[in-house]
C-alpha cells in the first residue's frame, strides 16, 4: 500500500467486553466523546469487539466510512492486537495504521469502584490513541530469502550431531574445524558415563556418518576469518592451513566450538610434585593402560572452580568424571583405596545419582571439605603425596598419604572464543562462555537472528546434554531455512544519513549489532536484524534516527494528549 499523504479518517470502536468494561466505564459517553476528537470521523461501541461479530463490524465500518486509521478501545494489545490488525489488512487498511487503547486491563479492571474516574481515564486513553493515530504511517514488511545452508563453527560431537540432523532435513552444512580432524574433546576421553562405553566407539560412528554425508562439507585445519551479512544471507570467509581463503554464503550459523581444560598450574602441587595430574590426564593413563595399581588414589574436586572470584561457576561434569574414573580404577584394581574430596557432590538427575550409590557400594570414600579450609598437599621424600584435609562433617583433620593425586578441574572458555564472538558480533557472558538470547526461554539462540550456540561453548556439560542441545539448534536453525523467505519486522529504525555525524553511539548501544557504520562513516541500520527497541533513536545526539511506529512525534503526541494538549 502506498503512503498517500491523505488526511486521516479515524474510526474508533469502543468495546463493552460484556460488563468487564461496560460495567464500570460509561461506554456510550466515551463514544460520544470520541466523536469530538480531531480526526475522528466515526465511532461506535460493541459488546465484544474480538468476537467474529465485532470483527465484521470493524470491516464494515472501514468500508462504509472510508476509514484509513482504526482505533479499538478494549483490552490489552498483548492479546488481540494481531487479530484486529489482521481485520484491518483484510479490509484494505495497512496493519500499522491501527492503534489500541487499553481501557480494560489498565482501566475498568483497575478502577472497579470508581466508575466516574474510570470513564474520564478511558476518554483520556482514547484521546491519546487518536493523537498517535493521526501521525501513523503505513509500513511494509520486507521479505528476504534464506539460503538453505548452515555454517557450523567447530567439529566436535555437538557440531556433528547438528550437522547430520540438518542434512537429514535436506539442508547443506559446512563444518569448519581448526584441528586436523573431527571429534573435539571426545577424542581425548576414554569411557563415557553412564554406560561406560568407549568414547571412540560413538565417535568413529558419527565421524563416519558425517564424512559420508553428501550434504555436509567438512573443512578441517580451517578457521573462520570473517563473517558479514545477516540472517539468511551470511557471507563467510574461511582460511585454510595453507593460507588460502574461501568464501561461501550460508543462511544460518551455529557456534559449537566447545571448551578447553583448565590447567591448575601451581595448585595442589600440580607441575611441581610427581603424580599430581588432572582427570583428563588420568583418562589418558587409563586409556593407554598405563595406570599401575596404586595403593591409594585421592581426587580433589572444584580445583580452580567455584572460587570466590574469577572462575566462580561450577563446571557441572567434574563430579561425575571423578566418579567415573574412580569406578574404573576400582574395577581394574579393587584393593585400591579411592578418596574423593568434594565440596558439594553434583550427582543430579537419575543416572548420576545411580552412579553415586554404586560408588558407595564399591567403598569409595567421600570426604567433604569447605572452600575456607582447602586440603593441604605436600610431597614426602619417598614420593608419596600427603594430603591433609579438614573433614567438614566430622570436624577433624584427616591425613592421607597417597600414591596418586588427581585434580578435577573445570572446563573453561575455548581458546579463541573471544575473537570468534567479536567476528560474529555475539556476546560472551561474565564467565567467558557464549551468552544466549534469554537464559530461560531462548537458551540456544543468540539475540542476533540466525546465529545459534550449543554444547560446551554455551556452558560446561556432558555428551548427552551437548547432543540434546545440538538437536535443539538443528531445529532452531532449520526454521528460517525451511520457510525459505522471512518477513522482516516493519518496526525498525532508520538513519537520516544527512544528519548523522558518525559519532558511533548507536553502534555501541545496539544489543543486536543491527547498526554499523558504513564505508562513509555514517550509521546504517540492517533492518533485517533490527528488533525495534528504539534505544538508538533515543540516544542519538543529532536526532538522526527515526524509530518507525514509535517516532518522536508520535510518542510526544501521546504524552501531550494524556495531559489534554492536542495539536492540530
Amino acid at each position: 500500500m502506498e503512503s498517500k499523504e491523505e488526511a486521516p479518517r479515524i474510526g474508533v470502536f469502543i468495546c463493552h467486553c460484556g460488563i468487564n468494561i461496560g460495567g464500570v466505564v460509561n461506554v456510550p459517553e466515551v463514544v460520544e466523546y470520541s466523536k469530538t476528537l480531531l480526526g475522528v470521523v466515526y465511532a461506535e461501541d460493541n459488546l465484544y469487539t474480538c468476537s467474529s461479530e465485532g470483527i465484521s463490524k470493524i470491516k464494515e465500518g472501514i468500508a462504509k466510512h472510508n476509514l484509513n486509521r482504526v482505533i479499538v478501545a478494549s483490552c490489552t494489545p498483548r492479546t488481540h492486537e494481531p487479530l484486529f490488525r489482521a481485520a484491518c489488512e483484510e479490509a484494505g487498511v495497512n496493519k500499522y495504521l491501527f492503534e489500541m487503547a487499553n481501557i480494560r486491563d489498565q482501566c475498568s479492571w483497575a478502577h472497579m469502584h470508581e466508575p466516574e474516574k474510570a470513564t474520564e481515564k478511558a476518554k483520556d486513553l482514547v484521546r491519546m490513541a487518536v493523537a498517535k493515530a493521526r501521525l501513523l504511517k503505513p509500513l511494509e514488511e520486507p521479505e528476504i530469502d534464506v539460503a538453505p545452508s548452515a555454517l557450523i563453527v567447530g567439529g566436535g560431537v555437538s557440531s556433528m550431531t547438528a550437522a547430520l540432523c540438518l542434512a537429514n532435513q535436506g539442508f547443506k552444512v559446512h563444518i569448519v574445524e581448526r584441528e586436523p580432524e573431527l571429534g573435539g574433546m571426545l577424542r581425548h576421553l576414554h569411557k563415557l558415563y553412564p554406560s561406560m562405553e568407549d568414547a571412540s566407539q560413538g565417535l568413529s560412528q558419527i565421524v563416519n556418518s558425517v564424512n559420508s554425508n553428501k550434504s555436509i562439507d567438512v573443512l578441517t585445519s580451517t578457521v573462520v576469518k570473517e563473517v558479514k551479512g545477516f540472517i539468511g544471507n551470511f557471507e563467510v570467509t574461511v582460511e585454510r592451513m595453507n593460507g588460502e581463503t574461501t568464501n561461501f554464503g550460508v543462511g544460518t550459523i551455529i557456534v559449537a566450538t566447545g571448551a578447553a581444560n583448565f590447567e591448575p598450574v601451581g595448585m595442589y602441587g600440580y607441575g611441581e610434585y610427581d603424580n599430581v595430574i588432572t582427570q583428563l590426564q588420568l583418562e589418558q593413563l587409563l586409556k593407554n593402560g598405563r595406570l599401575e595399581k596404586p595403593e591409594k588414589v585421592v581426587m580433589i574436586q572444584c580445583v580452580g572452580a567455584r572460587e570466590e572470584k574469577g572462575r566462580t561457576y561450577c563446571s557441572r561434569i567434574c563430579c561425575m568424571t571423578a566418579l567415573k574414573n574412580a569406578m574404573h580404577i576400582k574395577e581394574l584394581s579393587p584393593d585400591t583405596d579411592v578418596y574423593i574430596l568434594f565440596r558439594d557432590l553434583q550427582t543430579y538427575g537419575t543416572h548420576h545419582e545411580d552412579w553415586h550409590r554404586r560408588a558407595q557400594d564399591k567403598g569409595i570414600k567421600f570426604i567433604k571439605y569447605v572452600l575456607e579450609k582447602p586440603p593441604q598437599v605436600a610431597q614426602r621424600e619417598d614420593g608419596k603425596i600427603t594430603i591433609n584435609v579438614y573433614h567438614a562433617l566430622l570436624g577433624e583433620e584427616v591425613k592421607i598419604s597417597s600414591d596418586l593425586l588427581v585434580l578435577s578441574t573445570p572446563l573453561i572458555p575455548q581458546e579463541g572464543a573471544k575473537e570468534l564472538s567479536q567476528l560474529l558480533k555475539v556476546p560472551v557472558g561474565p564467565d567467558g562462555f557464549f551468552f544466549e538470547a534469554h537464559v530461560k526461554l531462548r537458551p540456544i539462540d543468540f539475540a542476533t537472528d540466525g546465529i545459534y550456540v550449543c554444547g560446551t561453548a554455551h556452558s560446561p556439560k556432558d555428551v548427552a546434554e551437548s547432543v540434546s542441545q545440538a538437536f535443539g539448534v538443528a531445529s532452531r536453525a532449520a526454521i528460517p531455512m525451511a520457510v525459505k523467505r522471512l518477513r522482516v519486522e516493519a518496526i525498525t529504525a532508520t538513519v537520516d544519513e544527512s544528519v548523522c555525524s558518525g559519532c558511533g553511539t548507536c553502534v555501541k548501544l545496539c544489543p543486536y549489532g543491527a547498526i554499523q557504520k558504513d564505508e562513509k562513516g555514517v550509521a546504517k541500520v540492517t533492518s533485517v536484524v533490527c528488533k525495534g527497541c528504539g534505544t538508538c533513536a533515543a540516544s542519538c545526539p543529532e536526532r538522526a534516527i527515526t524509530m518507525r511506529h514509535f517516532t518522536d512525534e508520535q510518542v510526544r503526541a501521546q504524552a501531550l494528549a494524556a495531559l489534554g494538549r492536542v495539536y492540530a
Partner: protein, 528 residues
C-alpha cells in the same frame, strides 16, 4: 572322686573378716574350700558379684557382716540382708537353690563361729553337689575387625550414607546429648577409624530403637550396624556401662547350662489350664526374674503371664508351657554375645519341637522380635509361627469372637514399644483390641506408631542421664494426653520408666508415678 565345693566369701572388714582372722590366730581349723574377699561392709556386696560368682562356677557364696545394730556403718548390714533375700529368690528361680547363698552375722570375737559356719556350709555343699555351671577356660579367637566391619557396612547399607544428618536430627538421645551422632559413627567407620568406633561409648549409647532407620533416605540400618560392631567392642567398657550390674544377662547365660533346672512356674495360678505339649506354646520370657530383681517398683509383673494364660484359656486355648524355658536371648544378641545367643536359640528350638508346638505366642515384644525374626536369620530355618498376643486377639476381634464381660471407663494412652512397632510393624492389633474393650477411650500421643519415642533404655546398656531425659520426656508426653493409664505391651518399658522413681532426690513425682498397665493385664481385667 567328687570335686570339692568351692566357696567364695565376702567378709566385712570390721566384723566377719576379723572373726575369720581370729579363727586362724586361735588355730581353729576349717575346710580349705573357702576363698575370702575383704570388703569394708557387707552392704558393699553387690548381688551381681554373687550371681557372677555362681555363673563362673562357685558352689556356694558366703556373705559375712556385723550383727544387726553393731554395723560399723550403721545399717549397711541391713541393706545386705534385703539384698540377700532378693538374690536368694533369683537363685531359686534359676534352679541353683537359695541354700547355696548364706548370710551370716559374725562378730570380730567369733572366730569359732566362723570356723563352724564354714565347716557346716562346706558339708552342705558337698551333699548338694557341685554347681552345674562349672565354666571351662576358653581362648577367644581374634577377630579381623576391619573385615568384619566392612561386612557389617555392606549388610546394613551404611555405605549409602549421604551424611545428611537426618538420623541425628531424629535420634532421641542425640537431641539431649549432641556428642552422640549416628552420622559421625557411620562416617568414622567408612573412613577406617574402626578403633575409635569400637573403643568408644557411642556404640553402647544407641538405643537401637530404629527411629533413624525409619527416616533415613538411604535406608541405613544403623542399629543393625551397631549390633554387628558390638561383638568386637571393648568388653571392659561393656561391663562398665551395663546397668543393673549385668545380672539379667548373667542369669540368661546360666540358663544355657543343661544341668540347670529352673523353678520358674510359681506364678501360675490355681485352675490355669496348661500343658506340657501343645500346638500353641506360650513363651513367657524372663518376667519371673524381673519380678524379683525389680520388686521395689511394685509393677506386679507376674500379673502379665497370669493374664495371658487367663486370656488364652478364655478363648479356648490350652497353651503349652516350658517348665525350663530359656531366655530368648534378645539382650545377648544386641550386646554382642553371638555365641551364647546361638546356643540359646538352638536350645529353645529343641524345646519347642519337644513340646510339639507349631505356633508360639508371647506377650513380650523383645521375645517376639527375637523369635520371629532373629532366630530364623541366625538358625537358617525356623518353622514356627510366632504371634504377639495382641495379634492373636486382634484376629479374634475381627471375627467377633472376643467377648468382654466388663469394661471400665478409663482413658488409656498406648505406647508403641520399639520392638513391636518399628522393628516388626505391629501397630494396629493392640489398638484394635484396646478399643474393643467397653468403656475404654484410646488416646494417642503425637509421637506414635512409627514415630514413637523409645522408652529410653535398651538391653540395659544405655542407662545414663540422657536416657533419663528421654524417659521423662516420654512420660510427660503420655501424661499430657490427659489419659488415666499408660498402656504398653512391653514389660521392659514399664521397668525403665518406673526406675525413675528410684531417683534421689525424686524427680517430678507426678509424672514418674503415672499409672501404667500392661496390655495383657488390661485385657484380662476386662474379661473377669
Amino acid at each position: 572322686m567328687v570335686a570339692e565345693p568351692k566357696i567364695v566369701a565376702f567378709l566385712c572388714n570390721w566384723c566377719a573378716y576379723a572373726g575369720a582372722d581370729l579363727a586362724g590366730v586361735s588355730r581353729i581349723g576349717y575346710p580349705p574350700n573357702i576363698r575370702v574377699i575383704r570388703v569394708m561392709c557387707s552392704g558393699r556386696v553387690d548381688p551381681a558379684f554373687i550371681i557372677r560368682a555362681f555363673e563362673t562356677g562357685a558352689d556356694g557364696v558366703l556373705v559375712g557382716g556385723c550383727h544387726p545394730g553393731t554395723c560399723h556403718y550403721v545399717s549397711g548390714n541391713l541393706e545386705a540382708e534385703k539384698r540377700m533375700e532378693n538374690t536368694k529368690k533369683l537363685l531359686k528361680l534359676i534352679g541353683l537353690g537359695p541354700e547355696r547363698l548364706r548370710l551370716e552375722w559374725i562378730s570380730a570375737s567369733e572366730g569359732g563361729k566362723f570356723a563352724q559356719v564354714v565347716t557346716e556350709f562346706t558339708e552342705e555343699l558337698r551333699k548338694m553337689g557341685p554347681n552345674p555351671l562349672k565354666a571351662k577356660a576358653k581362648m577367644e579367637a581374634p577377630i579381623n575387625t576391619k573385615q568384619a566391619i566392612s561386612e557389617a557396612v555392606k549388610k546394613t547399607n551404611v555405605q549409602y550414607c549421604l551424611e545428611c544428618g537426618k538420623c541425628s536430627g531424629s535420634c532421641p538421645i542425640s537431641k539431649v546429648n549432641d556428642a552422640f551422632s549416628p552420622r559421625r559413627v557411620v562416617e568414622r567407620s567408612l573412613l577406617g577409624f574402626e578403633e575409635r568406633v569400637l573403643s568408644g561409648t557411642d556404640l553402647w549409647t544407641c538405643l537401637t530403637c530404629f527411629l533413624c532407620t525409619e527416616r533415613c533416605p538411604s535406608d541405613v540400618r544403623f542399629p543393625e550396624f551397631v549390633r554387628a560392631c558390638r561383638p568386637m567392642a571393648s568388653v571392659e567398657l561393656k561391663e562398665e556401662l551395663c546397668a543393673h550390674r549385668g545380672i539379667p544377662m548373667a542369669l540368661s547365660r546360666m540358663m544355657l547350662n543343661p544341668k540347670i533346672k529352673q523353678d520358674r512356674m510359681g506364678w501360675l495360678p490355681e485352675g490355669a489350664e496348661i500343658s506340657k505339649r501343645g500346638d500353641m506354646l506360650y513363651f513367657v520370657g524372663c518376667i519371673p526374674y524381673f519380678d524379683v530383681i525389680f520388686e521395689d517398683f511394685n509393677l506386679e509383673l507376674l500379673k502379665i503371664p497370669q493374664s495371658v494364660v487367663k486370656i488364652l484359656n478364655n478363648v479356648g486355648i490350652k497353651p503349652a508351657l516350658l517348665s525350663n524355658e530359656k531366655c530368648c536371648g534378645h539382650d545377648m544378641l544386641w550386646t554382642g554375645d553371638l555365641e551364647n545367643f546361638e546356643k540359646l536359640a538352638k536350645k529353645n528350638v529343641a524345646d519347642f519341637k519337644r513340646a510339639r508346638a507349631t505356633r508360639i505366642v508371647t506377650a513380650c515384644p523383645e521375645c517376639y522380635r527375637t523369635l520371629k525374626k532373629d532366630y530364623a536369620e541366625v538358625l537358617g530355618n525356623f518353622d514356627f509361627e510366632v504371634l504377639h498376643i495382641s495379634e492373636l486377639l486382634s484376629e479374634l476381634v475381627d471375627k467377633g469372637e472376643l467377648k468382654f464381660d466388663a469394661g471400665f471407663s478409663k482413658k488409656v494412652v498406648y505406647h508403641d514399644p520399639c520392638r513391636l512397632g518399628r522393628h516388626m510393624g505391629v501397630y494396629e492389633p493392640p489398638r484394635k483390641v484396646i478399643t474393643s474393650i467397653p468403656g475404654v477411650g484410646l488416646l494417642e500421643m503425637g509421637r506414635n506408631r512409627e514415630n514413637a519415642i523409645c522408652c529410653g533404655v535398651s538391653s540395659f546398656m544405655s542407662c545414663n542421664k540422657y536416657s533419663k531425659e528421654v524417659r521423662m520426656d516420654r512420660l510427660r508426653e503420655a501424661k499430657a494426653t490427659g489419659a488415666d493409664l499408660l498402656v504398653t505391651t512391653c514389660p521392659k518399658c514399664q521397668i525403665h520408666w518406673r526406675c525413675l522413681t528410684t531417683e534421689k532426690p525424686p524427680i517430678d513425682p507426678e509424672i514418674v508415678t503415672m499409672e501404667m498397665r500392661d496390655f495383657s493385664v488390661l485385657v484380662a481385667e476386662a474379661m473377669r
